[in-house]
């Protein structure tokens, strides 16, 4: 049975999606690709010197295409292009239907047959669910939620808070 009781946000593990300089302050984003506030926060984080970990937190009732988009990003990741797909998804949240996902996969020169098989695979679904469950256990209730310095910051984040994170 899946354990979903309270637990701290897990530290980054080998197959987490991480970018940014190793020496920079660590932040962990719980986000989904259909969430406009996540796109905005992602852009603001990108402008700062931070080490970012991206974790999926798709909730179907709020964002029906968040799950397929998360699986598409994971499938791209299996061909080494997670962050590129991440950026393409956030760049145009009005186009997240399957043909739009295939178009992005083509733009990234992915093996389309493999991409399509991977994004529907049990392994990818389990991987997305793992992120979601770690968020549930940590008490994440909305997107975006940023973990930094042992504290969860749900929702929009003041610029001053971002600057403070960067300077840690």
């Amino acid at each position: 049975m899946t354990e979903l009781g309270s637990a701290p946000v897990p530290p980054p593990v080998a197959d987490d999606h991480v970018r940014g300089p190793e020496e920079a302050a660590l932040v962990i984003e719980y986000a989904d690709f259909e969430c406009p506030f996540c796109a905005v926060l992602g852009a603001r984080l990108a402008a700062r010197e931070l080490r970012r970990v991206f974790r999926h937190f798709p909730v179907r009732s709020s964002h029906p295409r968040a799950w397929p988009a998360a699986c598409a990003a994971e499938a791209a990741g299996r061909q080494g292009r997670f962050w590129e797909m991440h950026d393409l998804l956030f760049a145009d949240q009005g186009r997240l239907e399957d043909p739009h996902l295939w178009r992005r996969a083509s733009e990234l020169d992915l093996d389309l047959a493999r991409f399509d098989a991977d994004r529907r695979s049990e392994e990818v679904i389990t991987r997305v669910r793992r992120d979601f469950e770690s968020g549930i256990r940590a008490g994440v209730v909305t997107t975006p939620t940023l973990w930094a310095g042992g504290v969860l910051h749900p929702g929009k984040l003041e610029e001053s808070a971002l600057i403070e994170l960067e300077e840690r």
Binding site: E3, L4, S6, G139, V141
Partner: protein, 149 residues
């Protein structure tokens, strides 16, 4: 609000089709009553959508989720359908808030507090929680903690 170890009070709520849901319906299963302020309000929308994502894990523990508000059954049904969720809705519309009062979760503003009550198969409250403010959304992890406790 009602505390752990207290037998659930007698109450009567309305199911979507108008049939009653009473204390007798709690017997023989673990029930998670999710009292929420208003159908279609932003935090309630997020809350029910989030909890619906862990419905299978709750079912694996023998627990059934119910949403309880003072909205009319028609409003609750529209809310559930709009969200595309499966959590059964129970209405405390008339006499308004009577069940909420029985559980000690009626807000003076005329709506349910944001509260969670787990009732065991013997109809005794196993765990309860009320958010500090109706605007606070309790994480789903708290329900699993309550079930395990």
């Amino acid at each position: 609000m009602i505390e752990a170890g207290t037998p659930a009070p007698e109450f009567k709520l309305a199911r979507a089709g108008g049939d009653p849901f009473t204390r007798a319906d709690l017997a023989g299963q673990t029930s998670v009553l999710v009292f929420y302020p208003f159908a279609f309000s932003p935090v309630c929308t997020d809350q029910l959508g989030l909890y619906d994502e862990v419905r299978d894990e709750l079912a694996a523990r023998g627990a059934t989720l119910y949403g309880v508000s003072c909205d009319a059954t028609w409003s609750q049904t529209a809310f559930r359908e709009q969200l595309g969720i499966s959590i059964e809705q129970l209405s405390d519309f008339e006499p308004k808030g009577e069940t909420c009062r029985a559980f000690g979760v009626y807000h003076p503003g005329g709506f349910p507090q944001r509260a969670l009550v787990i009732v065991d198969p013997d109809a005794v409250v196993k765990w309860s929680y009320q958010a500090d403010s109706p605007g606070d959304l309790p994480g789903a992890n708290l329900i699993f903690d309550g079930l395990a406790g």
